[in-house]
Symmetry: C2
Subunit: 130 residues, 2 copies
């Protein structure tokens, strides 16, 4: 399996797949012509990484998850606590987004929306009333 096929089947750009080799995440064999030769297990690891990344895990966290995945003796509690920590992180982001949203909402609600430049809420914000 060449890199292009792997790219198609994992949804990862070839560039990214090469980058993952650079950082020793997935290191395929090489054919006699120098092409990367991916086997099923490589593709599997790459798909795993793709999914973990899209769930917001960092590369280092992916490395950890992969090692947990490959370690048949690992405790599922390790993975669970990692996931729970991520959930906390997400909750914090959502909360902060909500607060910026309400700031902007207040702003929008108090704007006349006409062609004059006056917008008292903006003036207040500029002065420090957040």
């Amino acid at each position: 399996m060449n890199i292009g096929d792997v790219a198609r089947s994992t949804g990862l750009p070839a560039k990214t797949i090469r980058y993952y080799e650079d950082i020793d995440l997935v290191t395929p064999a090489r054919a006699s012509n120098g092409y990367r030769e991916y086997v099923e297990q490589d593709v599997h690891r790459l798909s795993f990484i793709q999914r973990a990344r899209s769930l917001g895990f960092s590369i280092d966290e992916c490395r950890l998850l992969l090692s947990l995945y490959n370690d048949k003796q690992r405790a599922s509690s390790d993975v669970k606590s990692l996931a729970l920590a991520k959930i906390d992180e997400i909750d914090r982001k959502i909360e902060e987004l909500g607060s910026l949203r309400s700031t902007l909402k207040t702003l929008a609600d108090h704007c006349h929306g006409n062609s004059r430049p006056d917008c008292p809420i903006l003036e207040e914000m500029a002065k420090g009333v957040s």
Copy 2:
């Protein structure tokens, strides 16, 4: 106000504040000794940026958000439509985060979190039931 005070009151590292000057986001006056001299308005701008950044807005988006209350010449309708567009963006972000969260939550809930190696979080990432 020196950069250290500003760092303490905004929660931004001094390094970052200097970087923001580099990219012309917040450009304080200089004292005779070369020190940066921040006024209240600078601090407020920096706090706003801090908040917006922590919510995933790019520097360029921050520039746009700042223009909401910095441009005295804008029509308030411009302000309003910009704010409303941003709110839509925030809503989309919140929704995405929410779905990420629920995926992780479901997985974590089904994980026993004990010392045995079966773990639905890893299994899901391996299989690709996203």
